[in-house]
């Protein structure tokens, strides 16, 4: 009665990311702070830190951060969609938020997937691990540098065994 749905294959790679996160807690960390020049909106500094000089190209780093900043800007944009969401929610005394996901939360999910994808493609092969700022109170973007160099965090797509699959009962 066991089968591997497509989602499980993705989960296997996530399993490994969790192990990487654990080993990340033993690594040195670099923190990118918030950029407050435009006010209280969520935006991170794109200045390339010297500590990452040996590990990653400046352009890749800047691209990741600029994309993140774009996502956050979109989430915090005050425009037609946010008005609509606000007015609709107000009309229902905000009870609708118990059933519905807000726009910000949907974008946070997109950001989480983007960070995961960036980690798999770019950062873990270079021995870095990017943590989602939402886990740090939206204060910092943290890069964990593995002490073993580029091989430190291993490869996310390797070393998973089928026995890790979930047994799904109908």
């Amino acid at each position: 009665n066991t089968f591997l749905p497509a989602a499980t294959v993705d989960r296997l790679s996530f399993h490994n990311l969790q192990e990487l996160r654990h080993s990340a807690s033993l690594a040195t960390k670099v923190f990118i702070q918030r950029d407050y020049r435009d006010g209280t909106i969520c935006k991170f500094q794109t200045k390339f830190p010297a500590e990452l000089d040996s590990r990653i190209e400046r352009s890749l780093f800047e691209e990741t951060l600029k994309t993140l900043n774009c996502y956050y800007a979109e989430a915090e944009k005050i425009g037609g969609q946010s008005y609509l969401e606000g007015c609709l929610a107000c009309a229902t005394a905000y009870i609708i938020f118990l059933c519905m996901e807000t726009r910000y939360e949907m974008i946070l999910k997109k950001i989480s997937m983007y960070i995961q994808e960036q980690n798999e493609k770019i950062y873990t092969p270079r021995g870095l691990l990017l943590t989602d700022p939402v886990e740090r109170g939206m204060r910092v973007v943290s890069f964990a540098k593995s002490q073993d160099g580029p091989a430190g965090f291993g490869s996310p797509s390797s070393a998973h065994s089928p026995a890790r699959s979930n047994q799904l009962s109908p």
Binding site: R11, R21, T40, I78, G86, C99, E101, Y104, R136, R164
Partner: protein
Amino acid sequence: MITRKVTRKWEKLPGKNTFCCDGRVMMARQKGVFYLTLFLIIGTCSLFFAFECPYLAVHLSPAIPVFAVLLFVFVMAMLLRTSFSDPGVLPRALPEEANFIEMEIEAANGNVLAGQRPPPRIKNVQINNQIVKLKYCYTCKIFRPPRASHCSICDNCVDRFDHHCPWVGNCVGKRNYRYFYLFTLSLSLLTIYIFAFDIVHVVLREYRNFFEHVVSLTPHCTVLEVLVCFFTLWSVVGLTGFHTYLISLNQTTNEDIKGSWSGKNRVQNPYSHKNIIENCCEVLCGPTYPSVLDRRGVMLEDSTSPTSSDASAASTHKSSNPVSQTTKSSAPLIPNEHTPDEAKPSIGAGTQKSTSSPKEEKPPSPTSPNAVAPAVIKESAH
């Protein structure tokens, strides 16, 4: 089946908050005045519905109690949202971040001679061409973002801190300010409404029952309601007016009290759009910020014996934080199952409680939890 106690993150959160409903509700410690608020609102409205509304519905219009009910429901919803939600608490810095900031501060300060006081920990940032000072919070070990402040009652740094309101039993901050404002506004309307119709009721009765001897409880209730409404009116309507003024200037109560943006040599408010409509829209119709405090994420606590077959990965539930939080396990055991697909839209709906038996959610049908095969445990236990 082995029952395993699941520790959720709210149990280990620092600060002086109380949590209810397994982390879904977050309030300050002192709730006495909040109960008084509830009692006054529910009590007065109950008297109104029980004694005034029947008369008014018959003699004037049935729309009167209907509108009163809608207004009452709205007031209660806003009150509960303000009181129970996370005001925008900033989580404290983890040790690595705190050390990183300390190192930055030491590097910036240079060598401090023995006996000399170290300079105050302040960071200057330029916001919209104004210099704003960010202060360091010694409790939370962070430089407070602009407009954030540390609430000593709740012992938390709160983003866009307005004030700590004992009447709602919670801080008012970025995430619940609009609910607080709508609460005061709707409560003002409700108070005026009840007050007005009490007067109408008394006047009508006086005219109609002039020649009839009517002995009833109604006049006494009406007097009580009028008294409560009268005193409430002055305070709540005044408060609503004050907050309307603050919103139009995009200021917080905290900034107003401290005089951050007033005075000749002071900085002008860098957050104001200089346009009343834009300021109001930003505060009232802006995006709804999610909570960054992961209250309902599970902390892995592995207290079961090795023979237990059900020590599965703890499932993460989401209340207001949509992103699954990775839990840093103390032992390198089963990592947290973590996929974005698992994110359920039902926030705070409390779909599953994993306290009785360990369950694992699967993305396709999140409502049917499964027991994880023993193989999973043994594989990952390394």
